[in-house]
Amino acid sequence: MINAPAIDPVLVRFVCGTLTLGGMGSPLIGELATRFSEMRVDPKDGAWRLPAIRYRQLIEFFVAKGIAFLDQARAYNRRIFNLADDRTPFEHQSEAIASWWNSGGRGLVVLPTGTGKSLVANLAIQKTGRPSLVVCPTIDLMHQWHIQLSKTFGEEVGLAGGGFLDWREITVSTYDSAYLHVEKWGNRFGLIVFDEAHHLPGPTTQLAARGAIAPFRLGLTATPEREDGSHVVMADLIGPLVYERGIHELSGEHLADYQTNLVWVDLSGEERQQYDHEACLLKDYLATKGYSLGSSGGWNRFIRESSRSPEARRAFKSFLVQRRILQQCEAKMQAVEDLLERHHKDRVLLFTADNATVYKVAKRFLVPALTHHTKPAERKEILQAFHDGRLPVLATSRVLNEGVDVPSAGVAIVLSGSGTVREHVQRLGRILRKHEGKNAVLHELVVRGTKEEFVSRRRRNHDAYQ
């Protein structure tokens, strides 16, 4: 595309995830360096470079200043995408897309799981009219998106990830493949949809956003905050928060009605004795050293000490034994037995904190285990059988926390998990997708008189649990 080719236009090219700028005089270099702090000379070839993410601001800057430029970076054209999906968007979906468009086609939309984020993405692709890339965190989700987009737009959709590398005008990729191959696709899409966008700020995954020129960007998530605080970079990578609705606002009409239920259990006499004994050892050690695990730097110090000192290692073992008792105690197993009996007609997801407990539960109750070790063929068969009711109970640790669509799931049993709000909200989200006659229930198993009480209080600190 040539704009005002009167005298020496600036040549803008896309090279390996960056923009190179050629044919600039010193005054313009100075002006650009002031405007773009990331601009610098590449010592390898002497070219002025900018991260590809700055493409939009750069072009807007040239246009605003009337600077002639030759755009050889963009490798896509506008086109029309026809939606074969005749569903009328719900109010919240229309509002979300309108807010996003009003914000210049950049920004983050926060909606609970099961409220039709994929339709929002479809509408964004249609509205933008540019080749689009959808990026998601797992291979399961990638295939899910692939089926949905192929059906919605009635055309071949590309895949990048899980052994596929087929770039088309609508393509779905995993975050890993997106950043690994950004130099190949970074100038081929006008819109990038970041599904489960809270994954994007990871140190390597964010290269997918930085190495692409796409002027339009849409982030979709139910839980934007990250424990490490790095979610703040999303404003730069995607755009500002443009729309947000909570679970409470959408339950009933757009999400299944639900209830959350705390199930209190007690340790057996022997377990309690061991738990208290180990707790005592740990407490004594920390008292001797004069710090607590909750104090600033306390945990790191404890870990450091247990690398070197046998006493600290013994205390560390106490910590882990306590954790194992809480995760696998007999009362929890009995509670699972009772709940499976009570929900013997329902689709049930059993969530644990670790894979060891998943396999223990799977063997004890003869239910399939789904972990990151599960091979694709088995995983596909398990999810299909869960969907059609042949395998109505599924034990998992983290792989089903988010994204994977299990619309028929109506009951979640949380045996154990981290203390994070995000994980707990995502787990609740798995069972909230609207389904005929569904009343979702989340049972959270908590051992009375242990630190699990505190962990449970912490992870329920969200309006969905109020």
Binding site: T18, V182, L320, R324, V367, K375, A385, L391
Partner: protein, 407 residues
């Protein structure tokens, strides 16, 4: 090498200090010995046994990072074989489907489950306990450790330090090796290793004394956009060769940390800890190098093939370290030869241009590929497909060799 989650280092101002373990430290030696004992005991057991031994959490987030790192080094020394009895995934899903039907009819209690398991066990000739063990025996962690390559605690700490240094360079923008008094043989080894690992580098030296004050700067994975992981692993694999060079000063510019990432420098002087036994680090000579020597000796010709140990200034402030020097026994003609497996067109063009401007250097470059695909050719450039044959090489050498200029 250690992955980034296992790398321990501290940053002070703009300088990075990897947390190497002192081999003489009794506390570290004791920790290493404890771990080694676990691995020795684990031979014949599933690898998960170690994880149980390490208080069930080798893959957990909470185990001390040092222990995880040490265990990672030792895991690489384990030979694993699959568990003897395994249930296929189709068979276990069939079992779960039968269990689901019974559950849906209500009253599927522990007793009924035991009955079902007992029936299934009989079909594979196992008891119930063995059957349940075999149910997920195909999952990683259930492989049996058939052998463990034992080492001393001190050696484990050394290998950990090397793995840590390799983990550090995975975050590098560049890595520089500076040789003040390095022998040309050491430089030759470095260049051979760099070529073998297909690294990109620039060499600078003093024009007057090119063998002294040599700096070789290698591109790091963080300076690239393409295939950074693969390149990073190649650079990490090359690192032991650089560390093995006595009196070398190694420095690297790293992109470190997350919020936000910043540039830091890691510096290592060859004479210091933590690699007192540097000679152990250098990998053996690469088979390709030996291969050509062997092939050459099997061909009857009048040329002597020697590994070249010269640093030749050429063109405008460029330096060349050829692979071989070929000398004709009868007439004294000679030619320097470099074999290029991995090359970039602009770099090769620059090199040819520079060498062509240096008539005192008889040269021959042999590149992998074909002139047709590369789109250019030159009389000083030979092409090979998989391995340069001595016969072809001989033809090129004859056409390129010249008698040394007097003086």
């Amino acid at each position: 090498m250690l992955t980034s989650d296992l790398v321990r280092a501290t940053v002070y101002k703009a300088s990075l200090r990897p947390s190497f373990l002192a081999e003489g430290d009794s506390a570290w030696l004791q920790s290493a010995e404890e771990l080694l004992e676990m691995f020795r005991r684990a031979v014949g057991s599933p690898i998960a046994f170690i994880r149980d031994e390490m208080v069930e959490a080798i893959e957990g987030e909470d185990l001390p990072v040092v222990w995880k790192g040490l265990a990672r080094v030792l895991e690489a020394r384990c030979h694993l074989v699959p568990a003897e009895k395994q249930v296929t995934w189709q068979a276990r899903l069939d079992l779960f489907a039968r269990a689901a039907i019974l559950r849906q009819n209500s009253g599927f209690d522990a007793e009924k489950r035991a009955e079902l398991v007992s029936m299934e066990s009989a079909q594979i000739g196992a008891n119930s306990l063995e059957f349940l063990e075999a149910l997920y025996a195909d999952v990683p962690g259930h492989e049996t450790i058939s052998a463990f390559e034992d080492i001393s605690a001190r050696r484990l700490l050394e290998e950990y330090n090397l793995a840590l240094a390799q983990g550090v360079v995975l975050r590098s923008e560049w890595l520089e090796v500076e040789l003040q008094k390095g022998s040309t043989r050491q430089i030759r080894n470095l260049i051979n290793a760099a070529k073998f690992h297909q690294l990109h580098w620039d060499l600078t030296a003093d024009s007057d004394q090119p063998e002294k004050n040599i700096r070789i700067r290698f591109d790091g994975p963080m300076s690239l956009f393409d295939s950074t992981t693969k390149y990073g692993i190649r650079l990490a694999c090359f690192l032991p060769t650089a560390l093995a060079v006595e009196e070398a000063k190694i420095s690297a510019s790293l992109i470190w940390g997350k919020r936000p990432a910043r540039k830091v420098i890691w510096e290592y002087h060859g004479s210091k800890v933590p690699f007192p036994n540097r000679h152990r680090l250098a990998p053996p000579a690469h088979p390709e190098i030996k291969g050509l020597h062997k092939l050459w000796q099997s061909t009857e010709n009048d040329w002597e093939l020697d590994a070249c140990c010269q640093v030749l200034p050429f063109g405008e402030s460029q330096f060349w370290i050829p692979d071989y020097l070929l000398k004709n026994r009868s007439d004294g003609r000679k030619v320097f030869v470099e074999i290029l497996a991995d090359w970039k067109k602009d770099r090769l063009t620059k090199m040819i241009q520079g060498l062509s401007e240096s008539p005192e250097i008889p040269w021959l470059l042999v590149a992998k590929g074909s002139s047709k695909r590369a789109g250019f050719d030159h009389p000083g450039l030979g092409w090979y497909r998989s391995f340069p044959s001595p016969e072809k090489l001989l033809l090129w050498v004859e056409s390129r060799a010249i008698k040394p200029l007097p003086g």
